[in-house]
Each structure stands twice: as C-alpha cells, then as structure tokens.
C-alpha cells in the first residue's frame, strides 16, 4: 500500500507536468515510477551555465513523498548528440552529487514536488557566481562509495 501511495502521487505529478512544465525544465524519462530524468536549463545569462543543459536523475523510494527522492546530476559525454555536463557549482561535486539541504532528510518537506525541486536547483544555479567545485571534490569523488542519502553533508554555507 505504501508503494502505491508513492506511485499515485508520482503519477499525479506526471500528469500535471505533462500538461504544463515551467520554462527551462523538461521531462526526459518518466516511464517507471522509480526513476525519472529531467533536463534543466538556466534561464538568465549567467555566463557559467549559458547554453548548457543539465540532466537530473530522480530516484524515488517507496516512501516518497514522506522521504526525499535522491537527486543528482548525470553526465552525458560531450561527443553525444545531447551533451549534458555536470554544472560547475561550489555545492555540486563533479560526480553529480548535490549538497542541498532541501534534498536531505532534515530539509525535505513532503510538500515538495519534482517540479519544485527542479526549480530550486535552477535558482541555485542562477544565483551562483563562483565557477568552482566544492572543497575536497577530488577526494570525495574518488573515495565516496556511500549512497547519497547516507552522506553526512554539512550545510554551513547559506550564501549560495
């Protein structure tokens, strides 16, 4: 029953997003109710992200929306038809893992939707002015084997 709750909620979200999605957001893959892929674009002229499209992967647990979905950027090589880099951002590791308190168990609220998460990430990119990775990016990317939800992020920076 619990899984059907998540499925119901997701199919409702999907129907709504098929009718209308906010600008700069598009659904790439939503055939299963466990993993979706979305493309997002930054709408203003931020020189760091101009002309790029980024792909997000949402993985939903059976307890969605009570539990947050796992959200990360995924990379498609620049040689493919649809190149999808990992955006440069001081809170986004180069393997696509996003450090955003909204996506943590403590910061998540069941009121959030796939759409609202996409819009939050859009605005997080829009507001960014630093063309850099988080400190300790290379070690994190090399040694992290944990699942995203198990990583103890510290949300100390409220500026970005």
């Amino acid at each position: 029953m619990a899984s059907s709750f998540a499925n119901k909620r997701l199919s409702k979200e999907l129907i709504k997003m098929q009718e209308h999605v906010p600008p700069g957001i598009s659904i790439v893959k939503s055939d299963s109710l466990e993993e979706w892929q979305m493309d997002i674009k930054v709408l203003d002229d931020n020189p760091i992200y101009k002309g790029h499209t980024f792909r997000l992967k949402f993985t939903f647990s059976k307890k969605y929306p009570i539990e947050p979905p796992e959200v990360q950027f995924i990379e498609l090589p620049a040689t493919s038809d649809t190149p999808r880099p990992i955006p440069m951002h001081p809170h986004i590791y180069s393997n696509g893992i996003i450090c955003l308190d909204l996506l943590s168990n403590s910061g998540w609220s069941p009121v959030q939707t796939v759409e609202s998460v996409c819009m939050s990430l859009q605005s997080m990119l829009t507001a960014n002015t630093r063309d850099e990775r988080p400190p300790g990016d290379s070690e994190f990317v090399a040694y992290n084997r944990r699942r995203i939800r198990d990583i103890p992020f510290v949300y100390e920076d409220d500026n970005v």
Binding site: R9, K12, E13, I66, S109, V111
Partner: protein, 472 residues
C-alpha cells in the same frame, strides 16, 4: 488537540472495507487548492494546523512520524515549517463539502461499472449498489472472486466450467453469461451473427466469418489479418492524397500505379511540400524578428521623444531664438503625442531640426570659449604690468635702502680713515680719493662685501646730511 491525541486517532479510523480514496479516478478536474500538498489528492478527512495549512489526516500523520523532533512535542509544518504543536480536526464544512462533491469513477470500472458519483457517495455506492464489486465466491472451497451481479439468487459458485457448444472449449460459467459490459464493438463483432453471449461474441475460436470482399470463409479471429492482405479489398491509389480518385482492388493496384500520372509526379509534390513547409517556417521566423525590430524601433522613438522633451525644458531661458525653437519642438511633441501617425511623418524633420539646434548651440559654445580666452589673457597681461611696476618700485626702494646703509657706514669709515690719516699725514685727511681707497682696503666684513658692487662711491656733499635726515 496536541500531537499525541492526533496520532492516537489513527487506530479508531482504520476500517478494513474502506475504499482507498486516493486511488480513485477523478472524472472532473478540481481546484488545486482542494488538493492535499502531500498526496496531491482532494483532501480526505482534512486537519488544520496553527498556521492554517490543511492536510489529509493520514498524510499529516505520516509526515509527523518522520519529521517530529524527538525531544520536543513539536513538528514543522510541511508547507511553511512553522513549529506546530496543536492540530485541529475541525475544518470548515465548506471545504469538506467541496472535496466530497468531486465526481469520481467507481473503482470497479475495470469490471464494467460505468457509475460516476460524488466522492462522498462512493463508499455507499460500492457497499450497496455496485453490481461489479468483486466479492469472494460463496463456495468456501473456491478461492476466486465474483462480480456481485453475477452471483445468482441461489448464491452458488460460478466458477465451474461448462463446454461451449461450438468450439468445445471449457468456459467458466460466469464468462458465459450475458454481458452488459461495454464490449468493444469493432469490425469483428459486427460481421458475426449477433449472439448476446460474451464467449460467443468474441472469444470462441471456432466462430467463422466471411470476408465481405473476397467471399472466403475464415476463422473470426483471423479476420483482421486477412483484411490487411486480402487481394480483393478495394483500396485507394497511392497518389490519392494528390488527387487520384481511383479506388481499385488490391490485386490490380500495382498496374494502376504504374500508369497513374499522379504517382509519378508524387515525389515532385513531396519536394514542393517540404520546400513550402520550410519556407513557411522561415517566414514565421522572419515575422517574429520583424516584430522584435519594430518593438525596438518604437522603444528608440519613445526614448528620443523623452530626451527631446528634457532638453527642451533645459534650454528654457537661454536665448530668444532658442526659446522659440524649443517651444516649436514642444508643440511638435504634443502633436506627436496626440497622434503617432503625424509623428512618424514628422520624425525626420523633427530630428533634423533637433540636429540643427544642437549644432548652433555648439557654435555658440565655441564663441563663448574664445571670448573667455581673450578675456583671460587680457587680465593676465594687466596683472603682469602691475607686477612689473611693483617690481620697479621695490627695486627703487631696495636701492635707496642700500644708499642709506652706505651713508650710515660712511661715518665709521671716515673715522677709521681719519685715524689712519692722523697717523700718516693729517693735512690730506679731507681728500676723497684717499677715503675711497681706504674703503676698499680696510673696511670691515659687511661693507667689504657690498663695496665693490656699489661702484664708485659718490663724493659726500655737506648738504647730504640734512637731506638724509629728513628722509629717515
């Protein structure tokens, strides 16, 4: 009530035969404000928080279990994160009514129930009226489910098999029944004799039918496949979309298509079509660009207008001619404000006049500049002259002071000379030349330095003393 009471309510409200209201199919669209933000369904048994946010009680409970902080008796509102400790289950009747009024499809729609009722009535519909509701078979040994309406009055198991008289296949008794379900009335069902039994109608594999075109008899289930390949089926020419009206049998269509002029010209049409499409696309693109440019132009015009007004206002009281012109310009402005058409025809002349006035202003400025330049150089000259005069005066004064110093020095020198003269020869003491020699040789420090520059010392006349005295 506080959180504990609210969480305790859950046990009471758990019935077993309840329909899952969240999985209902909502027929009409409903206002998004009636939607629980957690489950995105119209609110079910809503509860209200202190911050006036409303959620389904069930959704709220699951949210509280997850987000309640362990040590306090509070939890953040899922919508606004306001710390909340009080929950009210009394929400406005209006809200409940609006949610209960939304039309839903019966959950047994897959079994054939066509009923659409308000959500508030769905429970009673399913409990009492729905004939398609699946209930366990009355036979205790049978584990299957039956539709309520299929159960006859005698309440016996309908899951026994009986034999179809045509295909000799075993069919479950309940499927052999008269079906009120909306059978898919496709070609197959029309072609066969209308038998009102579900198995007879659609499923019996031994049922045969006749192709209307070629007259062969084939099993009903193969009909669709047969129609696709039947050589006798009349089908339109390949070039029908270009206007060929020929409709002939499939067997002969190949020969027709070889001779049909429209088929041979087809590719040309195709190419033209694509060209037309691309041109249309380009046109639309250009139209859009044109609109953008026009917008930009009108923007520039309006800014020009504004700036012209501003300069017109500034130029106000400079000179009579300019004033006239700017007033003229202002009149122009007003006219153009009244009707933009007039302005658009006047725009060029207006711009030209603006240009002219600006040029005039620039020339006036340069005149003023040269004027200022001349005046400045004149004052500098005057100042210079005065300073020169002053310098001359000062020079004169310095000279007179020097002379006085000389005069003051003289008595000392004179005394010295007189002493020397008395030592050598007292008779020549009054001689001027001796005195001058003495000045140049035996005068002490300061007068010695000044001495040579003074040139020949003027002979001292008896009247000098009186004149110097009056001057000092």
């Amino acid at each position: 009530m506080n959180i504990q009471d609210f969480m305790a309510l859950e046990a009471d409200s758990s019935h077993d035969e309840l329909i899952d209201l969240r999985s209902l199919d909502f027929v009409s669209s409903y206002d998004s404000h009636l939607m629980c933000p957690i489950c995105h369904c119209p609110l079910i048994e809503p509860a209200r928080l202190q911050c006036d946010h409303v959620f389904c009680q069930k959704c709220l409970r699951s949210a509280i279990t997850t987000f309640r902080s362990a040590d306090t008796d509070e939890f953040p509102c899922p919508s606004c994160r306001t710390p909340t400790s009080q929950i009210s289950t009394s929400v406005p009747r209006l809200l409940i009514n609006m949610c209960e009024e939304i039309q839903v499809r019966c959950p047994f729609a897959t079994e054939g129930c066509q009923e659409v009722v308000p959500r508030g009535h769905i429970q009673s519909h399913v409990d009492k009226y729905c004939g398609y509701r699946l209930i366990p078979c009355p036979d205790e040994d049978c584990e299957k489910m039956s539709r309520k309406k299929d159960l006859q009055v005698e309440q016996r198991c309908m899951h026994s098999y009986c034999r179809c008289s045509r295909c000799e296949e075993d069919i479950m008794e309940q499927d052999y029944e008269v079906s009120n379900a909306p059978a898919l009335f496709n070609l197959e069902t029309i072609l066969i004799n209308c038998v009102s039994q579900e198995h007879d109608k659609e499923l019996c594999p031994s049922l045969e039918t006749t192709c209307v075109d070629c007259g062969t008899t084939i099993p009903q289930r193969n009909l669709k496949k047969h129609i696709e390949t039947c050589p006798e089926v009349v089908s339109p020419c390949m070039a029908s979309k270009y206007g060929c009206t020929a409709k002939i049998r499939r067997a002969e269509i190949a020969t027709h298509e070889q001779s049909c002029p429209l088929v041979s010209i087809g590719p040309y049409f195709e190419a033209q079509n694509t060209r037309l499409n691309s041109l249309e696309l380009k046109m639309r693109h250009l139209q859009q660009r044109n609109e953008i440019f026009e917008d930009g132009l009108s923007n520039i015009r309006s800014t020009l207008l504004e700036s012209a007004r501003a300069t017109g206002g500034n130029r106000g009281g400079r000179s009579a001619t300019e004033n006239d012109r700017s007033q003229h310009g202002r009149v122009d402005d007003d006219e153009s404000a009244n009707s933009s058409n007039v302005f658009s025809s006047n725009a060029t002349t207006y711009l030209l006049s603006l240009h002219e006035s600006l040029r005039e202003e620039v020339s006036q400025m340069s005149h003023a500049l040269t004027d200022l330049d001349a005046r400045a150089s004149m004052t500098i000259m005057n100042e210079c002259l005065r300073i020169k005069e002053d310098m001359a005066h000062t020079n004169a004064a310095v000279n007179s002071v020097r002379m006085q110093v000389q005069w003051l020095m003289n008595p000392r020198l004179h005394n010295g000379a007189r002493a020397g003269g008395m030592r050598t020869n007292a008779s020549t003491a009054g001689n001027d030349t001796t005195r001058s020699q003495l000045t140049s040789t035996s005068a002490p420090g300061p007068s010695n330095a000044a001495g040579p520059s003074l040139g020949p010392i003027r002979p001292r006349r008896p009247s000098d003393s009186g004149r110097e005295g009056t001057k000092l």
